[in-house]
Symmetry: C2
Subunit: 333 residues, 2 copies
């Protein structure tokens, strides 16, 4: 019989179709192709003038906006939000609006056109994490901004329009609804139990083992109890921490390993799927809290049946997380 | 400058990209092809034995589960939920689960394999609405069920797996999160203003006109102020009503006309897009309320960039609703 499961953070119920469980090979989709070298690309060496001037770069040589960088952060050429101006909050009758003020930046992960994130060295992946942290620390000084989302679209099915591997960062004057729900849910759980719900999840899953994928000194990669999507995977720091940007050096080295390892496992089990990942962290202007716990959510793009889910917030997941975790634990990378 | 707009019902902020507004022709996608006659289909005359026995049919002739019907409702052969058994709510440590108890039915809209909903006569569309109502009234007698979603997936990009035109109905033992958010938001608005938020929307939009698509005696079809998706369209009854199944005969005749007209307009402006629609109504076991207002949400599937939106609940919409409404008002059907 199918099962209804409740996400303990947000309270969302999902249907887990235990009877007709889908194995990795049951999802029909196109593997994300390797980018071809030689095509003109604004993120390659020699094309630095094709992007707005860089806001951060790690370099082996060269000057600003010249070749020689190993990682480069630039404003998005077609930003969803703009950093100049003021919010100008106002009403339109019963409606509320404000100017689309914020930042939209691109983190070019390496000079290599064809390497995807999982092809990079652990040091390079760690650099990506550090660059995200540096940009957050810089942007949070702007008091108009309230929330920063770091995310990655891998493959065109996941929304990537440029194949040269990159992450994106959007800084917003509001907190996105889904993150707000998580924070509110975590606050409610804390009010009831005086414990962080994410710490409790890590504790229970570590003991049970069935949904755990990888556990290291500082991180746990696991399949959540009530996932919306097949092979949805979360990476959480084991020690309680509300803000991603407060993580320290030893933590990021360990995270680089876990993130790369988890993405490689998904890549192998699901045969080069398109995917998104996103860092969920606390609103940047808020102090550290005992109830919220930053983490990374990875969503492979396996199913297209999304309109109904969009319209209702009600998800039907054909793969139980216990089975997904078993596949991911057992695959060697 | 892009604009941030807040949905007055749920409080969700969206980015409306006013600077790079996309016109209908800017969306690249494949038109939904016309179904080809002659392919074997479980929803055509003569294939009645290929589905579970019907739970409702409108007929010109023939007996149960024989040809001669004009509309037929059958249980889904691969249901997401099952009607037999009991809920068996239980915990698994900190987690909550219950059995996937519920109903999952298919409303085959007509015997024609190739006709889509917009090709049917108004009388046939009205029959579809009546059939939904009849099934809801029957299922709500089951006290285990709390919520019924009626929805349609049109085109494979919208999740349709069988091309013979049909709607679906899922009856659930819980209320889906997104609908719960709407109901809670509407309750909060009512507590503050002692008016229904949807009634206020209809009133303001009817006066302003810029986001209105069609207005009839009983219904308004409009583009919402803070739409998540380009050409997202809502159809609302003008008179306050919390439950879809309480609508009366004159209302359904008018709704059939508005629904068909609106879908035809979207079909013409967007060139045969895949789409989903869903009926949002009150939980079936709850009495009529002054704060919630049933309505239909139509979402054309134009953009693929959804992973980021899934992960954050933060939507970037490249088409302002004022422009979408203008296209839809001006197109003749």
């Amino acid at each position: 019989m199918p099962e209804l499961r409740k996400d303990p953070v947000t309270g969302r119920w999902v249907i887990i179709a235990t009877d007709r469980a889908r194995r990795p090979s049951d999802f029909s989709r196109e593997p994300v192709p390797k980018p071809r070298e030689g095509s003109p690309c604004p993120f390659c060496y020699g094309a630095e003038h094709k992007t707005p001037p860089e806001v951060l770069a790690y370099r082996q040589g060269g000057g600003p906006n010249q070749s020689g960088w190993t990682l480069r952060v630039v404003p998005n050429k077609f930003p969803a939000l703009e950093i100049e101006g003021n919010l100008n909050r106002e009403g339109e009758g019963m409606f509320d609006r404000m100017n689309g003020l914020g930042a939209h930046e691109v983190i070019v992960e390496s000079p290599s056109h064809s390497a995807s994130l999982i092809d990079l060295s652990e040091g390079q992946v760690e650099d990506v994490l550090w660059a995200c942290r540096e940009r957050i620390v810089d942007l949070k000084r702007d008091q108009r901004l309230r929330f920063i989302v770091v995310f990655k679209n891998h493959g065109s099915a996941a929304g990537a329009s440029i194949e040269h591997s990159h992450c994106q960062l959007i800084a917003l004057p509001v907190t996105p609804k889904r993150v707000r729900e998580e924070i509110d849910g975590a606050r409610g759980y804390f009010a009831f139990r005086e414990r962080c719900v994410f710490c409790d999840i890590i504790h229970q899953e570590s003991n049970a083992g069935v949904r755990m994928v990888t556990e290291t000194e500082h991180f746990a990669a696991l399949e959540p109890y009530a996932p919306r999507f097949p092979f949805e995977t979360w990476i959480l720091p084991k020690a309680h921490q509300s803000h991603f940007e407060d993580a320290d050096a030893s933590c990021f080295a360990n995270l680089a390993w876990v993130l790369k390892s988890t993405l490689r496992k998904l890549d192998k089990v699901l045969e080069q799927p398109a995917y998104n990942f996103v860092i969920h962290s606390s609103p940047i202007q808020e102090a550290q809290t005992q109830h919220y716990h930053w983490h990374i959510e990875i969503i492979p793009r396996l199913t297209r049946i999304a309109g109904f889910e969009w319209a209702t917030g009600f998800y039907i997941n054909p793969t139980p997380p216990e089975e997904a975790a078993k596949f991911l634990r057992e695959v060697g990378v």
